[in-house]
């Protein structure tokens, strides 16, 4: 489980760096963002952990982002909490090229803001459901046999 969590952290860290650097070459960032989702899906497909452990890995992996998201709600006002939204932006870098397409506004807030707040949840769900894919497939195969 620790190895899986570490793999996800490393994937996320390097994807963040690569996507950020790729924003210098507009368009490439979008390609890398989709590549990140594909590799994350592949990681999920290769995972053999049970459902509870998959959720646990997901929450461990996104724990920093969950803290940043809570700070970004504006409920807390102290040093690091004021920078929650910035930290969350950095954390969400691999998805930002996709979020950047959501420029609609509602009551003064851009659509990307709730997406940003939900980033850790979206990524956990994506990871868990990508992981479930292989489980379902194996079950189906075994039923046929």
């Amino acid at each position: 489980m620790a190895a899986t969590t570490l793999r996800l952290y490393l994937l996320h860290l390097f994807a963040s760096l690569a996507v950020w650097l790729a924003t210098y070459y507009p368009g490439l960032d979008m390609v890398l963002s989709l590549l990140y989702l594909y590799l994350l899906y592949r990681e999920g497909q290769m995972c053999s952990l049970n459902l509870i452990n998959r959720w646990l890995v997901g929450f461990l992996w996104q724990a920093p982002a969950l803290v940043f998201a809570i700070f970004s709600t504006g409920l807390f006002h102290f040093g690091a909490a004021n920078y929650g939204i910035f930290l969350l932006s950095f954390w969400a870098t691999p998805l930002l090229p996709l979020f950047s397409l959501a420029t609609l506004q509602y009551r003064g807030y851009p659509l990307y803001f709730p997406l940003l707040l939900l980033t850790p949840i979206l990524l956990i769900l994506f990871w868990v459901f990508a992981s479930r894919g292989i489980k379902t497939k194996v079950n189906h195969s075994s039923q046929r046999m």
């Binding site: 994807a15 924003t23 932006s89 959501a102």
Partner: protein, 194 residues
Amino acid sequence: MIFPLVTVLLAGALFLHNRVVFANPDAAMYLYVKNARQGRLGYGFDDYYGNGISFADLEPGDIILGGYPGCAYGRFSHAGIYVGDGRVVEGYADLGVNTQPVEHYREYQEVCLLRVQAPAAVKARAVEYVQSQQGGLFYPVAFKNGQRFWNCTKIMWKAYMESGVDLSIREDFWVTPDEFYNSPWVSIIREQRV
């Protein structure tokens, strides 16, 4: 292993394309690191400082700078562009590119109003441009390139740049609010420090 490799390749390409920036000791990244070492982090110590500057004679296209003490990237922490009717378009992390009342600049310890020395048509196009980008995504380290990621200075720099007015005074990845203050394209309307 794909992303570590892509990161190294992109960092190398960025370095090769921007040797001038890396060689410039006044580049924003070096300024940020230098200030961070002295304990200045982020946009500084935000609070309501209640400056009493007058916004009376602002014209659409004017630039407003606000500064908190302890800012890591210079004297000024934030910038906005006046679009008329007491409103300013600016970029925030949670609001993206959006419109706010100009009065909120009273919260800054330092405030400065700048007039861009450009024809009225250029200013009108700049105002139109920033308004068309509302809802755009704010990213603190958005490079000058591209039109999907913004920070508070890039939006107005780009707006004027579209008409050939470069408010940035150096080759850099980013534009700091202080660059507008020092730009030969602007004159100071007035400034105040609490």
